[in-house]
Amino acid sequence: MGTDGVYVYAMVRAGTVLPKGLGGVGSPPAPVRTIGRGPLRAVVSDAPPALRARRRDLLAHQELLMRLADGGPVLPMRFGMVAPDEATVLEQLAAAGSRHAAMLEQLAGRFEINVKALPAQNALAALVAEEKDVRRLREAARRRPGYEASIRLGEAVTTALDRRAAAAGQRLVRDLTPGARAVAAGPPVPGCALNTSFLVDRGDTDAFLARARVFADAHREQMELRLAGPLPCYSFVPSEARPVPVGGV
């Protein structure tokens, strides 16, 4: 075992088979293994020295969790969780194993789909046509061009873009919620008017994604849609060892 600790990727059911040919974080990718007793296993590798949020390592973390989730339920750990040694991980499994196992079963057969709505920067013409304030400032800027006028106009455009995307995003959430088991508002992401995750049954994911795309097509002048999923249920596991309210931010 390395002296830099044990990197923990996820908790899975005992008997889970690790994906073949897939390494963990570090360069070269650290070999991944499972440890534990009872119904739960922790998926771990040696932690590389000087671990940082490198693209390579973020993708290794993500890819491993994706592949694990394809094989069965997963409690995904946040990126960068490192235990001092294997013994600490085993103690944690022993202490909280039954709680984790119960949560794992709740998430079985379910996936996270993340939905982001961005301002529709492509639809400036529609924005100018539909937003009185923007039109007025645009005309003012044409009559008296200048830095001040441009700043006012540009700010109004930005504000209107955000407002339209946020409003469409809220409608999208209402539209999609009936197709999901749970909804979790995500942390604000710069540039995004909406960042929300949905917990969706495996059999419903295609229909869910299709519905989101239909909505986006009908609202392309208000928002640009970014869909990611089906993903491991990052947003539907507690962010602390203590229980937290479901859907809490």
Binding site: R55, L58, F79, M81, P84, A120, E155, E224, Y234
Partner: protein, 156 residues
């Protein structure tokens, strides 16, 4: 599970269902299970990524680019038409606005990169910057629809 992620206004499929790293970055970094007794490694670089994106979005430069793109829109002739949005389909704005905004993003990103590069002596930093690249690349995924704007001209 072979679901494919599409972007709403693209014909081309974006193959990874995880979206780009940009799409899932905050899930990997800010969501997921945390266990108190495990340490969270000190993740130098995350804040830089976030700050970079914020600067691009909120900069005065972006305002000015938007204003310029907006001013270039040729709406006057059709301003009475109720179907202005349909007629234009955002095509003209797309071609102009996107290019402008992208330029702004590139410029600011470049500045941040310089600042970051200067302040961080770790030789492997190239690697850490890649996630930043992914963010900046995001708007480039879509080809500038130049053909649309020429079609508009014919119709007008």
């Amino acid at each position: 599970m072979t679901a494919t992620t599409y972007y709403s206004d693209e014909v081309v499929a974006c193959p990874p269902r995880a979206g780009t790293l940009y799409d899932v970055l905050e899930l990997i970094l800010d969501r997921g299970m945390v266990i108190d007794v495990f340490l969270r490694v000190s993740l130098v670089g995350i804040e830089i990524l976030k700050v970079d994106a914020r600067i691009v979005v909120a900069s005065v430069d972006t305002y000015l680019r938007f204003a310029e793109a907006c001013n270039r829109l040729d709406l006057e002739r059709d301003s009475r038409s109720t179907t202005v949005p349909e007629l234009f389909g955002g095509g003209a704005a797309k071609a102009v606005g996107k290019r402008k905004v992208r330029k702004a993003a590139d410029t600011v990103g470049e500045t941040v990169r310089k600042v970051v590069g200067g302040g961080d002596e770790e030789p492997e930093d190239q690697d850490g910057d890649e996630a930043e690249d992914e963010r900046r690349e995001r708007p480039k995924k879509r080809p500038a629809p130049a053909r649309k704007s020429s079609r508009r001209r014919v119709e007008a």
